[in-house]
């Protein structure tokens, strides 16, 4: 439908074009509703997407398709109802309007004058459509999937005659199940599951745990196929470490220690000399410059193994609380320190990024382990 080149058209032209669309069976809408082509239609609200779909259904039926051979899926119940009602209304008109009007309608839709046979068929389509219970399916994708599950429960491995839980019941059931699992684990502290739960629960709050587990249950299909792809859980964890290029067996403290050492992380050593210079320049600047200078001084003045006390303050000079590099590291008066500060900021940012990757990988390990 978006095949036509977009041209800025004036208000007047739009109406003119609209008229043309109505009269011209080769208009875009008509092309999109041609049952012989596959079409992908995107358009803004109210521009006639449903009409294209409705037309398509009508044309399919007009050209001999039985209603039960057609499946229309929507994402909302409202969408399904609107579409059903539109098709019914149109077919209702076809069933009762006079012949000339019907011929005109079909010609507009199908592009050619209808045969006697087609007129008769058009007249019958309404009742055929109404009779086709469970044949012509216009429904949401959810109810369609459900009907498949209901029809083939054994094949698909679900209990026959299952009930569908609403969201609230499901949330309650999940909570209940979690409590049950946690309670159960108290009796089996040495089980693998107990160990892995014991590793996670101190890291997340009880509310976050619920959403975490919900997320995992929700995506269990994806997770399982991931495990399958990489040949098991262990290998998937390896792949995550590899993908993030995260070192194994490190804690975030170890990485922080390295980052603040004279050697730096990943052989990216801090330029201590330039930093000293920057400190000197900053100490002549504004109050905030001076504060930075004093933190720099403390940091530079301590032995690398003692620097752990200053991590937060030191990193906060360069990074925002969100973890981005600060836009302003120096003021006008202390411009001279800018380059050295910028280089250190980038180094710290990369280091923290590595810590984040490592944490992500470790999180995966905890969850899966």
């Amino acid at each position: 439908m978006s095949a036509e080149p977009k041209k800025p058209v004036s208000e007047k032209k739009v109406t003119a074009k609209k008229k043309k669309d109505q009269l011209d069976p080769t208009s875009i809408q008509c092309r999109a509703s041609d049952p012989l082509v596959s079409a992908w239609v995107t358009a803004s609200a109210g521009t006639g997407k449903t009409k294209v779909l409705t037309d398509r259904v009508l044309r399919l039926m007009l050209n001999g398709a039985r209603p039960e051979e057609i499946l229309c899926l929507t994402f909302t119940r409202a969408g399904a109802s609107v579409m059903t009602n539109r098709i019914r209304d149109e077919l209702g008109t076809w069933a009762s309007c006079d012949r000339a009007a019907l011929e005109k309608k079909i010609k507009k839709l199908n592009g050619s004058k209808p045969s006697e046979e087609m007129i008769k068929r058009a007249r019958q389509m309404c009742a055929e459509f109404l009779d086709a219970h469970g044949g012509m399916r216009i429904q949401t994708i959810y109810s369609f999937s459900q009907s498949l599950l209901r029809r083939f429960p054994i094949e698909l491995g679900v209990p026959p005659y299952f009930d569908v839980m609403d969201n609230q019941t499901a949330a309650e059931a999940l909570r209940e199940a979690q409590a049950e699992v946690l309670r159960h684990l108290q009796h089996k502290p040495n089980s693998r599951l107990a160990k892995s739960v014991a590793m996670i629960t101190p890291e997340v709050s009880e509310d976050d745990f619920v959403s975490l587990i919900s997320e995992i249950t929700y995506r269990r299909g994806q997770l399982l196929s991931l495990f399958e792809e990489y040949g098991g859980m262990e290998k998937t964890i390896d792949a995550v470490y590899e993908y993030l290029n995260a070192p194994r067996g490190y804690t975030s403290k170890m990485l922080h220690d390295a980052l603040h050492s004279d050697q730096g992380l990943n052989n990216e050593a801090p330029d201590l000399e330039s930093l000293k210079e920057a400190m000197n320049i900053l100490s002549t600047g504004s109050a905030s410059d001076q504060e930075k200078a004093s933190i720099l001084k403390d940091w530079l003045g301590s032995k690398p193994e003692e620097r752990s006390d200053f991590y937060r303050e030191y990193e906060a000079i360069f990074l925002t609380t969100k973890g981005d590099v600060r836009k302003r590291l120096t003021t006008k008066a202390t411009q001279g320190a800018e380059d050295a500060m910028r280089i250190e900021a980038d180094r710290i940012w990369r280091g923290i990024d590595k810590v984040r990757d490592m944490n992500a990988a470790r999180g995966t390990n905890l969850l899966c382990g």
Partner: protein
């Protein structure tokens, strides 16, 4: 059909005739109008309800004359003894009957099937689900057997391409194709449908050989399975046998006859006739003129209306293959100008059909917005009809929630009209009572389950109702609000002891010591009595091992009865009465009969099984509950008449309902097996629609929305509208708005005015003269909360079975640290961390068994302990602990009296400069420096003020050097110290002016306790929002706020005032 016989023993009664009345009158006519001759007739009806209704119809037609009723029976329902008596002269048939094994009860079958289902992994997640699935399998078996279908060779029906996939289903179905028949054989029983079919055949064969001399009439049969067909055939073959159909359309055109499909209302009747080898032309009209009250009929010419309505409905239901005929109507020219103009263009054809506008006399359509509105309109219509005594109104709907709504609306006017479709036993009062008593035992007195039992109207435990209720309410407050007690009576007793100990220690408790003592004895003996009453049952239900089902059932019934007796009546008499009680007795009796064959199970499984079974038992209210008003399903209403018929919920997927997916067989297999196609259900509903829409007074209603989506109207209704449109009658359908208008007047307010924020100004004498420092913060952020807590003296009740909440976590941590620091005020021991953890374990007590506490709080506490001990060791080299959890106060002179500011400081230390450090442990968020500076978080500042003035007990006035929050989150880091920056003396001075002006302001009659005067400083937790109804005026206020410049509030004034 034997050719020697007359060809005319099949009759029909048109849809617009009241069916049973016409039948009765016709039979009476045939009996020569001699009521005593009626006894010669044998009448066969499809079900018992129809039988009752027919008897009533006879009495109506007899107009009080004395009579002997004809024999009315349901085929196949015949008592064995009666049948054997009838066929006693036929040796062969007698032998067949003797050989017939007794039928297994459906309940028994369901239980056994459920047991088999549970043996297959993944088929059912619980006993309850297995029971449900067992019931469904049973129904499937019934359906298959009723149609005399054999499932043994079912695999052969599957196309090769699907063999593999289907083999799984086939394996599962072995439960009914192999396992079940073997079990049945061993039991020496047969399935109920098989037995019923054989009885029908014996009866048919009997009549074949010895025809009764008196007339036999079968009526109201619509569709027939093979055994019923041969039975009906035997009726037809009698010289005096006849069949009366309901609403067979003799005038349906031949073309339509030939193309009609299974969704057509005439489809089943057509196939019935075909199976009985009766030509449709041979169906005669059953002519009779029943006596009916016509005073309510609106149509001026009823015969004409009936004829036209019949035509209209026939056209509406026209098979799809002939609907091009809809355009052949002759449209009345004069009706509207618009249609006239349109018609002028048509190439005129011969108009073979017309439908007169009289078809619409008495046929109303009402389209409502929502189903609530629809229910209201229907209820109004029913209520209105009561103004004319004797007028019978039936609501017929396939939508049970609509039925429930209408019933509820009528109840508002003290009119009791139950939905005759009935409800599952598990949802009735008695059902709930039985399930809750079992649940209380299975869940070992878990708060919700025990209260469900105790608060059920049937529970009285041998006492007078009122006293019993009082005791329950006391027990509830003491034991079940807040954290869950330990399991069983022991747990509850433990909680009670603790609660009474606490009450005894509380000097401000509203009860005196003596009163508490009395209450204690009373409650404890109550709990003891409850324990004794159910001892046997509770014991059996909590066993981890399986207990024989029968033992559980018997113990349950004994407990339920003992629980239900009051001071006058026995429990049995109170439970087993009413519709639900009677049904429950019947259900439990049949369950008991098979209980020895049910495998042993645990208490939990027992509850599950009971629940599953009771969901499948339907309780119907006695039909005669209201003399003129009824609410029914289309199936129940089909053969009955009413003066006004309301067809409600005429929407798609409601009427007709969506056809259920058959999980066992494909449509193709269904067809090949000879089972009825699922669509036939639609044809049957269409027939009901036509029948009921043919009544002289019909109101069709539907709602435009269902839930959150627009609805789609029923295809039946859409077809009707199509024909009206085609016939040019669309414009003749009146828009009925009167009832909707009444509804609007009753339920929609003319004007909606939101309330304003409350401005409570209690007299000064009632305002608090003492507040803790923590309340000062609330007084600034949300004065209304202070009003609720300290003026109204309301505090929230803990929820039932409360899950661990944030404040509880704070209390544990505080208490543990307090105890630890108190124990080691100077030097920490070697194993300080271990010691702290030990203290922690004591503080957490039973709560540590809660999974959440154990998994989430405890590891955090462990980290807090580690951090705390490390930090503390270092700290104590510089400073020493002065006091923990110490009370302090400050008196403020207000001119007309003294106001006391109180405080319990978490901890006071003496720092290296010999100044006091005030420390507050925070397990939640720490107030920002800004909010402290602005005075919105004055807790530490005010505590400093108290320290300055020497208000802390046993601690001399001294300078305060540090104000610190210790954030103890137990996260990473586990602890963090925030010292307030700035000049403490200045803070304290500002704090003093601030609190004084605040207290003085609230010491005036004119100062209102406003709820959340400044949204940006709203407290984080607020449990009075529902009382101040902030949800109603909150939005309004925000709009105002945006328009006006910010008003200076107390906090700002305080700053400026300095």
């Amino acid at each position: 059909m034997s050719d020697s016989k007359k060809t005319s023993s099949v009759y029909t009664i048109p849809a617009f005739q009241p069916f049973l009345e016409t039948v009765a009158k016709g039979i009476l006519d045939k009996a020569g109008n001699d009521p005593l001759q009626l006894a010669d007739f044998t009448i066969l009806v499809p079900d018992r309800e129809t039988g009752f209704a027919l008897r009533r119809a006879f009495s109506g037609q007899l107009e009080g004359k004395t009579s002997i009723m004809p024999q009315i029976g349901v085929p196949g329902d015949l008592d064995d003894e009666l049948l054997s008596l009838k066929i006693s002269d036929n040796a062969a048939l007698s032998k067949r009957l003797m050989k017939l094994q007794p039928a297994v009860s459906r309940l028994h079958r369901q239980l056994i099937l459920a047991d088999e289902i549970l043996k297959i992994p993944g088929m059912a997640s619980s006993q309850q689900k297995a029971i449900k699935l067992g019931g469904e399998l049973g129904k499937f078996l019934d359906e298959v057997q009723r149609h005399s279908v054999d499932l043994t060779d079912i695999e052969k029906l599957v196309p090769d391409a699907f063999k593999d996939q289907w083999s799984k289903t086939a394996d599962f179905l072995e439960i009914i194709t192999k396992t079940w028949p073997e079990k049945l054989k061993k039991m020496g029983r047969i399935d109920p449908e098989i037995r019923k079919n054989e009885i029908l055949r014996i009866q048919a064969d009997h009549w074949k050989e010895s025809e009764p001399g008196n007339p036999v009439i079968a009526l109201g049969f619509y569709e027939a399975f093979p055994a019923m067909q041969s039975f009906l055939k035997s009726v037809l073959n009698m010289s005096k046998g006849s069949i009366i159909l309901q609403g067979f359309d003799r005038d349906l055109d031949l073309e339509s006859q030939n193309v009609l499909t299974s969704v057509h209302p005439q489809y089943a009747l057509k196939s019935l006739l075909k199976n009985l080898s009766v030509d449709y032309k041979d169906v005669q009209l059953w002519e009779a003129d029943p006596i009916i009250d016509r005073s309510f009929i609106r149509a001026p010419n009823l015969d004409k209306t009936n004829k036209e309505r019949e035509k209209l409905l026939r056209e509406a239901m026209r098979p799809a293959g002939t609907t091009e005929g809809w355009t052949k109507f002759k449209v009345p020219e004069k009706k509207t100008k618009r249609s006239a103009r349109k018609n002028s263009k048509i190439i005129k054809r011969k108009p073979p059909t017309t439908i007169d506008v009289q078809a619409l006399n008495g046929l109303d359509f009402i389209t409502c917005g929502t189903s609530q509105e629809e229910a209201s309109v229907i209820a109004l219509k029913m209520r209105e009809s009561l103004e004319q005594p004797g007028r019978k109104v039936s609501l017929v709907t396939a939508d049970r929630s609509l039925a429930r709504r209408v019933s509820a609306r009528l109840r508002n006017w003290q009119i009791k009209v139950p939905d005759e479709a009935g409800i599952p036993l598990s949802k009735t009062s008695v059902g709930i009572y039985l399930l809750s008593t079992a649940s209380m035992a299975a869940n070992e007195w878990a708060p919700v389950s025990i209260l469900e039992t105790l608060k059920h109207p049937l529970s009285t435990m041998g006492e007078e109702k009122k006293t019993f209720r009082k005791k329950v309410s006391v027990l509830e407050d003491l034991a079940f609000h807040g954290a869950r007690p330990g399991t069983g009576p022991k747990g509850v007793k433990g909680v009670l002891t603790a609660a009474f100990n606490r009450a005894a220690r509380n000097p401000k408790h509203r009860l005196t010591k003596e009163e508490l003592e009395i209450q204690k004895t009373e409650v404890e003996s109550f709990v003891q009595k409850l324990e004794d009453t159910g001892k046997d049952f509770f014991g059996k239900m909590k066993k981890r091992n399986a207990v024989p089902f029968k033992d559980l059932l018997d113990a349950h019934i004994i407990f339920a009865e003992a629980m239900a007796c009051d001071d006058k009546t026995s429990g049995a008499d109170r439970i087993w009465c009413g519709d639900d009680g009677v049904k429950a007795t019947r259900f439990l009796t049949s369950l008991r009969e098979v209980s020895e064959m049910v495998p042993a199970m645990t208490g939990r499984a027992y509850l599950d099984v009971l629940q599953g079974l009771m969901q499948g038992v339907t309780v119907r209210t006695a039909v005669t509950s209201h003399p003129t008003l009824r609410i029914m399903t289309p199936a129940q209403a089909q053969l009955l008449t009413a003066d006004i018929v309301i067809l409600g919920g005429v929407n798609d997927d409601v009427w007709p309902q969506q056809v259920n997916e058959n999980p066992w067989l494909s449509p193709d297999m269904i067809k090949k097996l000879g089972l009825p196609a699922p669509e036939e259900a639609i044809g049957r509903e269409a027939h009901r629609f036509v029948q009921m829409s043919s009544n002289p007074n019909v109101m069709l209603t539907r709602a435009m929305r269902s839930g959150d989506a627009p609805s789609v109207s029923s295809p039946f209704l859409t077809r009707l509208m199509m024909v009206l449109r085609a016939a040019g009658l669309e414009f003749a359908v009146e828009k009925k708005t009167r009832l909707l208008d009444i509804h609007t007047a009753m339920h929609v307010p003319v004007k909606v005015e939101p309330i304003l924020p409350p401005k409570v100004t209690p007299p000064v004498s009632l305002r608090p003269k003492e507040l803790p420092v923590t309340a000062i913060q609330t007084l600034m952020r949300d004065p209304y909360s202070v009003y609720v807590k300290y003026v109204l003296k309301l505090s929230p009740k803990a929820p039932l079975d409360a899950s661990p909440n944030v404040s509880e976590k704070g209390i544990f941590t505080h208490d543990a640290l307090d105890a630890f620091v108190k124990k080691y005020p100077k030097d920490l021991p070697e194993n300080a961390e271990e010691e702290l953890l030990k203290i922690g374990r004591q503080t957490f007590k039973d709560r540590i068994n809660n999974p959440t506490v154990r998994a989430f709080w405890w590891p955090r506490f462990e980290r807090i302990a580690k951090w705390f001990v490390t930090f503390e060791r270092e700290r104590r080299e510089m400073s020493r602990v002065l006091a923990t959890e110490i009370r302090g106060k400050l008196e403020i002179d207000m001119g007309d009296g003294v106001f006391t500011l109180t405080s319990i400081a978490d901890r006071l230390d003496r720092d290296e400069n010999d100044k006091i450090a005030i420390i507050d442990y925070k397990t939640g968020a720490v107030p920002s420096q800004k909010s402290v500076a602005l005075g919105f978080s004055p807790q530490l500042t005010l505590e400093a003020l108290i320290a300055f003035t020497g208000g802390f007990k046993g601690i001399d006035a001294a300078d305060v050097g540090k104000l610190q929050y210790w954030k103890l989150s137990g996260g990473r880091p586990a602890g963090e110290v925030t010292s307030l920056q700035g000049d403490i003396e200045n803070f304290v001075a500002e704090g003093r002016t601030g609190v004084e002006s605040l207290i003085k302001a609230f010491n005036k009659k004119t100062t209102p306790y406003l709820p959340v005067p400044r949204a940006e400083w709203a407290p984080r937790y607020n449990n009075t929002e529902h009382l101040s109804r902030i949800g109603e005026w909150g939005k309004v206020k925000k709009v105002n706020n945006r328009k006006k410049p910010k008003k200076p509030t107390l906090a700002k004034k305080r700053k400026g005032g300095k």
